[in-house]
Amino acid sequence: MSISVQHISKSFKEVTALKDISFEVKEGELFGLIGPDGAGKTTLFRILTTLLFADKGTATVAGNDVVADYKQIRNSVGYMPGRFSLYQDLTVEENLTFFATIFGTTLEENYDLIKDIYVQIEPFKTRRAGKLSGGMKQKLALSCALIHKPKVLFLDEPTTGVDPVSRKEFWEMLKRLQKKGITILVSTPYMDEAALCDRIALIQDGKILQIDTPETIANQFPKKIYDVKADNMYLLIESLKEYSHNHSVYPFGEFVHYTDQRDDFKPQELTAFLQSKGLKNIYINTTQATIEDAFMELAK
């Protein structure tokens, strides 16, 4: 196991940030912690990177205990915190050299590992980090986290606030790093990114809701799920919420995802109900559940 977390709990005064969290990440795995702000993801990252003590439980990273062997862990992991944490007044190149020196290595020694990422910011290597765009900061932070060739990479919400194109590029980079044998633990609030991980843990309010492959979690969705559409979205949502047999009603892009309480649900009855509410061009059809549907069902 590359990461092993056993019954970790952590509270800050009266706020419980993590409640009895356990999971394992295999060597070379790309493992996603999927959950919204305030779920406890950052607290968990800080415990695993030895920056914070847990109240209860144990954890090991690359075979080292997070309390007893914290020095070994600090040498063998890369950590990219959610908030940009590089030196704003140093240039791109100075930041990289600084982090390389701290870890007793050089930019040249591990250039191969960061090459793909670094070439994209190399044209700006004399620019101060504070003056970079969001996408470039992210690439520099990742380069700095990789400069000492870590065994395990911790990425705390690397794509939050990043546009879909840059997010896609970032995940392609992660896949390439994984091929080089690095274990990656990444957190994200974007449910569509969950599908790109080998396995995921859905986390909310400090508790793990489920751990499995993204396909399994989506396939295990307990209800038949329907795409519903009509000419007036606002009225459609209001009407579906009013329908007494509904189990869940969630806007989902151009459709509303609807589940019914009954096993013998007949879409025609719902069509008739929606017509009686004055809706037109009604479309109801079964659809495939996504990770986001699964998350909402579990978090309900």
């Binding site: 879909p164 892009g253 309900k300």
Partner: protein, 242 residues
């Protein structure tokens, strides 16, 4: 200005030195519309929005927001719009009720109006138990819902939302969009930026900015047809990097 439009921009441009952040964008937003304003990071969305809300003077071009000119009447624009962003919305060190009172006062509401509106808002969002709690102690999703309601206190004609749902859990994100639908249904125009492409599908019309220009503007259905793809995410991926 056509009285069905609440925003009209004509060749609106903003330059910083020799860098053109917003390059001659022209578009109209209709009353009661949910208008999605999309683009990659650095495409010029925030700069464009700052001009529309009256806090940044354009370099050239024209724009009218709620009948007022962005060059000469920025204060009137500010009185008639609401604004909230992911980064700043409410004061963490004030309670829920104090925030409502403060923003009500800023927007020039009378004391009696503020009192009444505060009760309505607390009722509607079910905030009785936390009305005297500091906003900083609340979950992000709650804060964003309160911030949205606060931005509507003075019954603005348009509300500008800058990535209002970033990092918010999926259920609250949907409740937030239901609030948007409700506001639009009641006649408020909603101008919204987002990085969630499923949210782009919720908009009546969507514009996509690329390198300072608007490269596409239509309903999600038409955009998907035009680019022959199945989702707004694919439209965005096709466009945003040229």
């Amino acid at each position: 200005m056509n009285n069905q439009n609440v925003i009209e921009a004509q060749k609106l441009t903003k330059k910083f030195g020799d860098f053109t952040a917003v390059n001659a964008i022209s578009f109209k937003v209709k009353k009661g519309e949910i208008f999605g304003f999309l683009g990659a990071n650095g495409a010029g969305k925030t700069t464009a929005m700052k001009m529309l809300i009256g806090i940044s003077k354009p370099t050239s071009g024209e724009a009218k927001v709620v009948d007022y000119d962005v060059y000469t009447q920025p204060e009137l624009i500010k009185n008639n719009i609401g604004y909230m962003s992911q980064k700043f919305a409410l004061y963490d060190d004030l309670t829920v009720r104090e925030n409502i009172t403060f923003f009500g006062g800023i927007y020039g509401l009378k004391r009696s109006e503020i009192k009444q509106k505060a009760e309505e808002l607390i009722n509607e969002l079910g905030l009785h138990d936390v009305a005297s709690d500091l906003v900083g102690s609340l979950p992000l999703g709650w804060k964003q819902k309160i911030a949205f309601s606060v931005a509507l206190l003075h019954e603005p004609k348009i509300i500008f939302l800058d990535e209002p749902t970033g990092g918010v859990d999926p259920i609250t994100r949907r409740q937030f969009w239901e609030m948007i639908y409700k506001a639009a249904h009641e006649g408020t125009t909603v101008f919204v930026t987002t990085h969630y492409m499923d949210e782009a599908e919720y908009c009546d019309r969507v514009s996509i900015m690329v390198n300072g220009k608007i490269e596409a503007l239509d309903s999600p259905t038409e955009l998907k047809k035009q680019f022959q793809v199945a989702s707004m995410n694919d439209v965005f991926l096709k466009l945003a990097r040229g």
